[in-house]
Symmetry: C2
Subunit: 346 residues, 2 copies
């Protein structure tokens, strides 16, 4: 017997679907808002009302049908995304109406999900939104990339791209916790000031005309770990500063996601390959999912106390209303968010 919460019967679902695949920068026309009935949970499933939807750069990849590590979202399908929500109907043991859960319902107000794919959250431990940010996928991405690939030693220099974002800010603070020097790169003076506030040793505005010179001055001992989230001109500035044996976790390339062609020549691939050989660099692309089974427990155990005692700070950028998700998402790809971007759905 499905257990429903009170006052559900009149409500409607509301979804944002992929209407068409963007060429270059996405626009509002690529999204369709669709109202419909609230679905009913099958056996072993629960119905969850989304409270917060996480918006993340990887979603740009799902909108495209270019080859990727994950199949694309089909045109006409609901946009995917991590969500925190309240169970409103349960057909599964262990979850009851009122429970708050972390799930992957996507861009919709109501979603039916398998109970086995959900994690029950305890709001007394940390605000539930942290499960989408510093204690969720972005924070875990930082932890996995840094501990499994970057492996900074005490005293080494860690440079972080997109450093005011949820992955970058966590990466820099973790680097500090691990005894390294953290240098953040972000867009605009506000973000740069924030990075210094949360403990980065230096922070550089990649929009400054003298960005390259500023970065060089900020890493007098070169760069031992570069946590790559951006590519493009940020990579170009960091590249010549890499030390022998530098490690480069390649986590994202947000500066390329909207590109519709390649930069003009010459082809600089041999420059990169030759530096990899000569400086004995490690470049390693990763998606956090590959490390979840092995490492998520350890991460939550270590990072939760750091969040609670303030040694791991976070910043959220909350936009109200699911209907505003497309605009917020497009703005994020332009770097217009400041902190973990969340949509407050209900």
């Amino acid at each position: 017997m499905v257990r429903y919460a009170a006052g559900m019967s009149d409500d409607q679902n509301f979804q944002i679907r992929l209407a068409s695949r963007p060429v270059g920068r996405p626009s509002a026309e690529n999204f369709a808002m669709v109202a419909g009935p609230v679905p009913a949970p099958g056996d072993g499933q629960v119905l969850v009302r989304t409270q917060y939807l996480s918006l993340d750069p990887y979603m740009r990849g799902r909108m495209s049908d270019a080859p990727s590590y994950a199949p694309p979202t089909e045109v006409g399908a609901v946009m995917v995304g991590g969500t925190v929500g309240e169970v409103v109907a349960s057909n599964a043991p262990g979850l009851s109406p009122g429970d708050v859960v972390l799930g992957y319902a996507g861009w919709q107000k109501y979603g039916v999900q398998r109970a086995s794919g959900l994690r029950k959250l305890d709001p007394a431990v940390a605000p539930v939104t942290t499960a989408l940010g510093v204690l969720g996928m972005p924070g875990f991405t930082a932890y996995a990339g840094l501990t499994q690939i970057g492996k900074p030693k005490p005293g080494e220099t860690v440079v972080v791209a997109a450093a005011s974002g949820p992955v970058g800010a966590t990466t820099g603070q973790l680097a500090k916790i691990f005894g390294a020097r953290a240098v953040g790169i972000a867009g605009g003076p506000e973000k740069v000031a924030y990075l210094k506030e949360i403990g980065f040793d230096a922070a550089i505005d990649h929009r400054s005309p003298d960005f390259k010179a500023q970065l060089r001055a900020a890493v007098p001992d070169g760069v031992d770990v570069y946590f790559e989230n951006v590519g493009a001109h940020v990579w170009d500035a960091v590249f010549p500063l890499l030390n022998d044996f530098a490690r480069i976790p390649v986590c994202g390339l947000i500066g390329h996601y909207n590109a519709t062609g390649l930069p003009e020549g010459p082809d600089r691939t041999p420059v990169l390959m030759s530096a990899i050989l000569r400086k004995r660099l490690t470049l390693r692309g990763f998606i956090q999912t590959e490390f979840v089974a092995e490492l998520m427990g350890e991460f939550l155990e270590r990072a939760t106390p750091w969040v609670r005692d303030g040694s791991l700070q976070y910043r959220e950028h909350i936009v109200d209303g699911l209907e505003n998700a497309p605009e917020a998402f497009i703005g994020m790809l332009d770097g217009r968010n400041f902190g973990k971007l969340l949509i407050r759905v209900s």
Copy 2:
């Protein structure tokens, strides 16, 4: 008291020095042949008469003053290189005239070397030339790159560039010993036939007009490890065939060493970075020296029996006369050697 071997007094030294830095492909003019007196060993040193000089692609890097992992050879200095030779005068305990040693005397007939930098060879264990090849730096390069970076699992596919060279041939045979599938890439039908003879599962001629198609057909399950020795069009052919989580030990880029400029555009760097991310590739440049302390003992212990029982075969390309070293070296950069290139000096 220096102990000299008999019949030394009238002999002369003969050296090949760097006369000028090559631009692009080296030519005979970049080398100078110089006769001179035989040097005398100081305290703790021995005088060694070179029997074999190893010629290796890395020497092209030392001829250039472009930034590298090692300082360039100064113009006017003797060309560097690994050597096997006979001790003819000893001023050090533990080494006597007649001993055969592995050292680093460079392109010269006689060299004075510190005894502590030499390894005494036992010709009864394996031919002494193997200390410059399959049981020397090239063989160890293959072992280190494969065990520390490539890490092939049984059943995985390992593709090897420059596969008939001493590094490549060892890499492929080690891959087989470790239970993987080995696919070699080499230039010309003779080399391809040789690769099949020594146990590669498939071998492809990169000079074939349908090289790319042949390679694709030879790796029906994609490429899990690509041992990079070449770059250029060989890399271009392997690149699209890399599997998710492929590992690429970047050991050499002989296809680039003589380049004087970059290929024409567009700039394909974003294609590479995006594949690193999407396929979660590992690219890791290395020079075998970083692994010597930790791994050389293990390598010799494991590989010597493989060489003795024939499970690790090798091929030598021996050129007589030190005066022929420049031409042989230039030919090697063009891929004209077939097997480990050695100069028989005396």
